[in-house]
């Protein structure tokens, strides 16, 4: 029964997204589609991280009420994974943007987005 709880759903959803992303990255031919899959993969890892920091029946780690400032450790969810995800999201943006610019340039060289056509380097 515990599978039907918020954190389990999030965790499994994250992993499913990771798998879907990987599947897309490796089976889709279109380069843009590969990058889309990559961002899904990224989102999946982010969801997993947030789910790891979640603790049931607690609140966000923002001590905006006085009540929260007492005995904080037993009232908030883990702020550390959230901080990590913040960083990871921004990194993901950087990587995705760079991949997209690469894709644009790749298209300019061969006028195609089919990744199978970009295999001049081999062996």
């Amino acid at each position: 029964m515990h599978w039907f709880s918020l954190e389990y759903i999030a965790m499994n959803l994250g992993f499913l997204l990771i798998l879907i992303g990987l599947w897309g990255i490796i089976t889709r031919k279109n380069i843009l589609r590969i990058i889309i899959s990559f961002s899904l993969f990224d989102t999946g890892t982010h969801i997993v991280i947030v789910a790891i920091g979640y603790i049931r029946n607690r609140t966000a780690p923002i001590l905006d009420t006085l009540a929260l400032q007492k005995d904080t450790a037993s009232k908030i969810v883990d702020p550390l994974p959230q901080a990590l995800v913040l960083t990871a999201i921004v990194i993901g943006l950087g990587v995705t943007a760079l991949l997209l610019v690469y894709a644009m340039k790749l298209f300019e060289t061969k006028k195609t987005l089919d990744i199978h056509r970009f295999n001049d380097l081999k062996w």
Binding site: L19, G53, G94
Partner: protein, 234 residues
Amino acid sequence: MLRNSLFLIVLAAFAVIAFTLVNAWHPAESLSPVAEHYATNGPTEVGAANLVTAVVVTYRGFDTLGEVTILFVTAAIIGFFLSLFHSESPEQTDRLMPASEILSTASKLLIPFMLVLGIYVFVNGHLTPGGGFQGGAIIASAFVLLLLADPLSKLNHRIIAMVESVSGVAFVLIGLLGIFLAGGFLDNRILDLGTFGALLSAGVIPLLYIFIGLKVGSELTNIIGHLQQTQKNR
């Protein structure tokens, strides 16, 4: 298709491996020792009401420095990469549809608000959800709107680069001050921690978040600006 089915097997195997992780995972019941330290001592050590901010800017400020660097280097690469191909072609053959009247008017109204919102978000980063990254992203969105409304407008890359550099250097220098005035690199206790929950509190966090916000904003704007350039040419 052979490869796809082979990969299906590999992916299934990977899923099984990942499943062992999920299986071994039990949702946390209490905070980890590190997080507990943040929760108990964070308010006194750092002085930020938003503990995530405390972690992002101070405890793990070094990560944040790296994160800013990633955007910075991405912007640099994209700028470099795109300028290589488009340096000479003039921008006369623009074929973007002119933006509709509504959009351009609306955007002119919206942009100042968005800028203010962005600044608000990063100045209040230590108190409320949000901070330099979110604020920076909002500022960048404002510029996106500007570009959408008026595709012919050209961002001044010099100024953006200047903001980017100055705020980056300021970030590093403030971090450096931490060594001299406080406990170490990126220590926020250079300034007084102030009253908990006030705008001017939490040491240099607000200041740092301003620079982070400006830096992220300019970096993202820079990336968008470069991409916008490509839309014009040819």
